[in-house]
Symmetry: C2
Subunit: 289 residues, 2 copies
């Protein structure tokens, strides 16, 4: 599998160059793109594409695109009118460094850059119009109203309200799960997956996506600020209900295990070597940051 | 040519439906989409497509997409961390009605919706993957760092600074001109334009785009708040240099005439009936709001 360094090199290669007047904007985009993170979403795109026999090179623009969308969402999430977070991954959040106006626009430009990246001439040369179009369709759908942004809105609407577990699940599926699903499905498109394989990837994505969010909720209670690189206890502070407040830590841990096993089982339809995706699901379930 | 009512019906048909938890978000998106405006950008896409023999039906998803991008940019532009405008088109701006958080997310979701719209199955059925991909490429490029957002950044950087006419031109070309150019070029792609026609459309777009912005600067001084539907004199108040502060009203009016004539002349390479685009260029040059 492609290592994180290779993904990051490709990601950074898409940052606009030779801008004279927009230096601040591009610096702000680069600041958040280079701020690290686990690069889970691009890794998933590459892993599914490679599992199906496609090259990492062909899948890379789509892998980078989903990471750009993720990065834009973090910048906008941290803004004062949203979560108002001063820190992200152990560093000052984007707007604390570049100001709210530039941070807002850097997020906007990163979203555009994702779709630009997926339809560049060199992307089309490798993948053709059909795959690129299908990936644009998937990513735009799962990052918009019925995906990531929709999930953020549910999150906002239920601040200081008691959300039921159904609503929390709906929120988590969209907010975190949306992009994870898009990442897996784009990998499948690049690898010419059949309909059974698409369904299996969707199942895998839904399960690890929900498990990922529940682990986040657990870590928000059990981890330290230093380990997470962001303030802990933020959900409790904002009176937010989540999986942990509803089910308790032990039941949540059991649920993460169950979801992870189901995610791994769904991979059985693939003929190729699924060991990387199996290990990834386990690693995400047992992560400490 | 397709009338505004038909464009608006198509535009509204893309607003997400059946959302339970995201009602506020969708209401906020609809509020700004339905707030009127001249619908210049979608009109341009349709006009170039029809000039080249394509149907309005085929061009419509791309026409609507550019209007969605325009709408998102207005919502974000009005936010307190940007221009902090309470009024837009004679109505309270989006964040005054829905709050800053929902307004931010409505803008984000509208950008995603634009790319979603361009790659829907029914769009592909009419236009095929190649045209859709090329339009995604054009729109994402001209709304991002080297286009609309880049222009907004130049605008921010030169607040309270004396920008030269070169810098003002660069800003106007990107901020207003970016989407106008994208609109014209997408119409050309839908209509299978050849390279001469693409160049001519680009020239037309650049000229009417710059003329449009200079007229805006003129109206900011000569119009009334009631007529414009937004506060006048805002550039002077923010100590912004623009075409009018640099060249004066008379020279600006002469420049608008010159740009309009050049825009019209560039249409001569087209074999079809260009009268609609000729009239549109003249109408934009003499508009009073």
């Amino acid at each position: 599998m492609t290592d994180i360094k290779t993904i990051e090199e490709a990601l950074y290669s898409y940052i606009p160059k030779n801008t004279i007047y927009e230096k601040n904007l591009v610096d702000s985009m680069r600041y958040s793109m280079e701020a690290g993170g686990k690069r889970i979403r691009p890794t998933l795109t590459l892993a599914f594409a490679e599992l199906l026999g496609a090259t990492a090179k062909e899948a890379m623009p789509f892998a980078c695109a989903v990471e750009m969308i993720h990065t834009y969402s973090l910048i906008h999430d941290d803004l004062p009118c949203m979560d108002d977070d001063d820190m992200r991954r152990g560093k000052p959040s984007n707007h604390k460094v570049y100001g709210e106006d530039i941070a807002l626009l850097a997020g906007d430009a990163l979203q555009s850059l994702a779709f630009d990246t997926m339809t560049l001439d060199e992307t089309i040369d490798l993948s053709g119009y059909e795959k690129a179009c299908k990936c644009v369709s998937i990513l735009s759908r799962y990052c918009g109203t019925i995906g990531m942004v929709g999930g953020q809105v549910i999150d906002l609407e239920y601040e200081n309200k008691n959300a039921t577990l159904d609503i929390i699940t709906e929120m988590d599926k969209k907010k975190t799960g949306g992009l994870i699903k898009a990442a897996c499905l784009m990998g499948c498109v690049v690898g010419n997956a059949n309909s059974d394989e698409l369904l299996a990837a969707e199942k895998y994505a839904e399960n690890i996506g929900l498990a990922f969010q529940i682990v986040d909720d657990i870590l928000d209670v059990t981890s330290t600020e230093q380990e997470l690189g962001k303030p802990i206890g933020s959900d409790a502070e904002n009176n937010k209900t989540n999986y942990v407040t509803e089910l308790g830590i032990d039941e949540c841990k059991a649920l993460v295990d169950k979801l992870t096993i189901e995610a791994i089982e769904s991979l059985s339809v693939f003929k190729g070597d699924t060991s990387y995706l199996v290990t990834l699901a386990k690693k995400l379930a047992t992560r400490t940051n």
